[in-house]
């Protein structure tokens, strides 16, 4: 019996039971892959509570369009940057610079929104992604914070009633535990990761000793193409042999939309995670839609993504 382990991405999320239902529903909608009906078990590695105090309300609309778009009053606290020093400060400033995080909006207008343009003209270029400046900045704040706290294993207390934890240690432990449960099933076992979840999945598969094996990996809307992220995945990662060969049995499919602000910096990663020098990752450019191209619900509705997943699950 096949098994799927999901791992979610940046920003706060609804409670675990609601979130996994939203992912399953998104995959099943419009005559897609209904995991339960196909006899496929699934689980979610939930880590939003490591960085956020309370789960988001059970608003499907907010998850699918993402609260980042809807709720203008939820600006992430970025005072943690003030306390950084030396290499860590350089790393964060470097990534912030790449993301245009600190740059003022054109004309000083926070609502400035670039014109949409045809796909043929499209290059990975953050300034040209047709989202309001304030929205891009908010997303970048979340990405910067979540990625930093994970990669630098920051000690963090998300809620006064819960103890502080080392972010990477805690999330790794949850991921490994979920992978072990999946490995105990007949299989195939497929990991579907989104956004920051792709970094966590890769980090565990490549860098955690004795990580359980999986049959296939799907990364969606991933920032794994960023040099800064790759640098922090060392030791372990190398461009020539970054593929997690000992823990990933079969295929790795990487799905992106060039207008996804998280993946846009370097959406194609086959060149960055080679298997003994060979490009083996299947980079799949699947057009998302709407304003919010990082939207997991839309990604999971993609026909090509579903086709690849069906093969992975041997349905």
């Amino acid at each position: 019996m096949p098994h799927v382990t999901f791992i979610h991405g940046i920003a706060n999320k609804p409670a675990p039971d609601v979130l996994i239902r939203l992912w399953r529903d998104s995959l099943a909608r419009d005559e897609g892959i209904d995991l339960g009906a196909e006899g496929v078990t699934s689980d979610m590695v939930y880590w939003a509570d490591v960085l956020y105090g309370e789960p988001k309300r059970e608003m499907a609309e907010h998850e699918s369009n993402d609260s980042i778009v809807e709720a203008r009053d939820e600006e992430p606290d970025m005072t943690w940057r003030d306390e950084l020093e030396s290499d860590e400060l350089l790393w964060v400033d470097g990534l912030a610079s790449k993301m245009n995080f600190d740059a003022p909006p054109p004309g000083g207008d926070e609502t400035f929104t670039p014109e949409a343009f045809g796909d043929s003209e499209l290059e990975a270029n953050f300034e040209r992604i047709p989202l309001p400046w304030w929205l891009k900045r908010r997303l970048m704040k979340m990405l910067l914070r979540d990625v930093h706290h994970y990669l630098f294993n920051v000690e963090y207390q998300a809620h006064p009633d819960r103890p502080a934890v080392r972010v990477q240690d805690e999330i790794r432990q949850r991921m490994i535990s979920a992978l072990a449960q999946g490995a105990a099933k007949p299989g195939p076992h497929v990991v579907i990761s989104h956004s920051m979840g792709t970094v966590i999945a890769y980090d565990c598969l490549k860098r955690v000793p004795d990580c359980p094996r999986v049959d296939a990996l799907m990364t969606i809307g991933s920032p794994l193409g960023l040099d800064e992220v790759q640098d922090k995945l060392q030791p372990g990662w190398s461009r020539e042999d970054g593929f997690p060969s000992t823990t990933l049995k079969d295929s790795w499919v990487n799905v992106f939309d060039r207008l996804d602000v998280v993946a846009a910096f370097d959406p194609e990663i086959a060149n960055d995670y080679r298997k003994r020098g060979d490009k083996v990752i299947d980079d799949l450019n699947e057009q998302n839609w709407g304003t919010w191209r990082h939207n997991i619900s839309n990604y999971l509705a993609g026909a090509e993504l579903r086709g690849k997943l069906q093969q992975m699950l041997e349905l």
Binding site: M1, A28, G39, T41, R57
Partner: protein, 546 residues
């Protein structure tokens, strides 16, 4: 046993939709409350009553609330829930008397007072609905309901639930030219309140604090303002919430039909009701039944086109779920005896799916206890093939030409029939290769002819409880794999297809009861219906027919 234990037991039974267990646990709690000096803590009482209300166990809710009051737990919330149960059980006069006694007691608590006044409004609204406008007092009921709702809304315009109910009733008064005290232009007043309510909900939505109910409220406000496209968009938002259940959607549907007088025959009902209906079809826990002819009217090409245009690609899909159900329904027939009485159901399959020699020929699958040539099938007696008539509709009736293969009721309970005549324009029902998970979360759907009546969709508590299929099933006979589910079926449903959530057939329905022996060697019985896995039928047929 502690009150917390009672609450836990009731919650588990409610989540499992196990009605006998809910009733039993509530009776136990009642007995405990009536013999205990210790008052039940309010949070526990609140949790129990809210759970019972959410799943519409109004009878149990009334009795538990009554016992809580006897027990000394007389918080206004308990009293209010008691009144709520009275209203939902149709004891309207009693509810109104009780609420009027309660009203002075909650004067110092504005939130509770608003709730009590809202319930009074609801009780009078229901009196108005029940009167069907046939009595002189109907207008008085309508006026009273509006007054109570307005009393709350006028004090605090953030009470959008009260505001939207006042809007709906004022609009109704306007349509029927009912004379009301205090206003001579109810339609205008309805529009003014609707605009304010919509503005309030939109601001909540922008701030990310809108609730599921707010979306439903906004949809009604848009109806009042004749902004149909926006009403459809809000309605779709409302039904898309994962925590919304069929009871809530059913309640909204009643409001649209009973108060707004919407129907699937005319705008805006023919656009809005299918959104609710398709959501209802996808949710478990509902006691609603759909008549296939009503669904067909709601799914006209024009409506489909409009919905797709308004809702867009990613929102239209829930409606497609209902469309798929309708397509499957075309291949499902009623099986009648010589007196034209419906005694069972059957469905068209591609013959080659069961034995390669039949290729693409359309054949009918039903139970052996419905049609059989075996004279020993007597309990219940089956129709002989030449006695059976197969009807897909008034203009599509067939005799049975030949019984091709059968397996007796105590084994696979199936007969495969060749019909006499050419079947056109009907697609066979596709068969699922695999069974769903037996995790209690999967839903199954039955389309059949219960009680010999018209084709209908039953969606009450349609959980797949257990099955004997791979990988964990332990069937007593490896060639007979059974499924147990709680989709309700009545006489006449025998031979119906059992569908998974993708509308692929997984089983052939054949039996049910309150005390079916559990599967997989588990001890005891449970209320369940039983079907046979179509893949085990296929394997047996392919082996016998060459």
């Amino acid at each position: 046993m502690s009150f917390a234990d009672f609450a836990s037991n009731i919650t588990v039974a409610l989540d499992a939709n196990d009605q006998p267990a809910v009733q039993q646990h509530c009776r136990n709690l009642q007995a405990c409350l009536q013999t205990s000096d210790e008052p039940c803590p309010l949070p526990i009482a609140k949790k129990i009553l809210a759970g019972l209300r959410r799943k519409r166990h109004f009878d149990a809710m009334q009795h538990v609330a009554d016992a809580l009051l006897q027990n000394g737990q007389d918080d206004p919330l308990v009293s209010r829930q008691y009144a709520q149960a009275l209203i939902d059980r149709g004891l309207l006069a009693l509810a109104i008397q009780y609420l009027n006694v309660l009203l002075p007691e909650v004067e110092s608590n504005p939130d509770e007072e608003a709730e009590v006044l809202g319930l009074l409004g609801r009780a009078y609204k229901q009196l108005f609905v029940e009167s069907q406008g046939k009595i002189a007092r109907a207008a008085e009921y309508l006026g009273m309901a509006i007054d109570y709702y307005m009393q709350v809304y006028s004090n605090d315009a953030s009470n959008v639930w009260h505001g939207i109910n006042a809007t709906a009733l004022l609009a109704r008064a306007g349509r029927e030219a009912v004379t009301l005290r205090g206003t001579d232009r109810p339609r205008d007043q309805a529009a003014e309140i609707a605009a304010a309510v919509l503005e309030e909900v939109e601001s909540r939505w922008t701030a990310g604090v809108a609730s599921m109910w707010d979306s439903g409220t906004a949809a009604e406000a848009c109806i009042a303002l004749d902004r149909v496209k926006e009403a459809a968009q809000w309605m779709e938002r409302y039904v898309r919430e994962p925590m919304g259940d069929a009871f809530e959607f059913g309640s909204t549907r009643r409001q649209l039909v009973e108060i707004w007088q919407l129907s699937t025959d005319a705008d805006p009902g023919k656009l809005l009701l299918p959104i609710l209906d398709s959501a209802l079809l996808a949710k478990d826990g509902s006691a609603l039944q759909f008549d296939a002819s009503g669904l067909a009217a709601a799914s006209s090409a024009e409506t489909q086109h409009q919905l797709e245009a308004i809702l867009g690609r990613d929102r239209y899909v829930s409606y497609k779920f209902m469309k798929r159900a309708l397509e499957r329904a075309k291949a499902i027939a009623q099986i009648r005896d010589g007196s034209d009485v419906g005694i069972g159901t059957g469905f068209l399959v591609r013959g080659g799916d069961f034995a390669p020699c039949y290729g693409d020929e359309l054949l009918l699958l039903t139970n052996a206890h419905v049609v059989s040539d075996d004279p020993y099938v007597v309990n219940p007696p089956a129709l002989a093939p030449d006695e059976a008539t197969v009807s897909f509709g008034p203009d599509s009736v067939f005799a049975v030409k030949e019984l091709l293969w059968t397996s007796p009721p105590n084994r696979l309970d199936v007969s495969l029939l060749r019909l006499d005549g050419e079947i056109t324009d009907i697609e066979p029902i596709p068969i699922a290769k695999r069974l769903p998970l037996a995790d209690g979360e999967q839903r199954v759907y039955i389309i059949g002819h219960p009680r010999g009546g018209p084709l209908s969709f039953s969606i009450h508590d349609n959980a797949l409880i257990a099955h004997e299929g791979p990988p964990e099933g332990r069937p007593p006979r490896s060639d007979v794999i059974r499924l147990h589910y709680r989709a309700p079926t009545e006489g006449g449903s025998s031979g119906s297809p059992v569908f998974n959530a993708q509308w692929l057939a997984i089983g052939l329905h054949h039996a049910g009861g309150l005390d079916m022996p559990c599967l997989n060697g588990e001890q005891g019985t449970h209320p369940a219906n039983e079907g046979l896995w179509l893949q085990s039928i296929r394997a047996a047929c392919a082996q016998d027919v060459t």
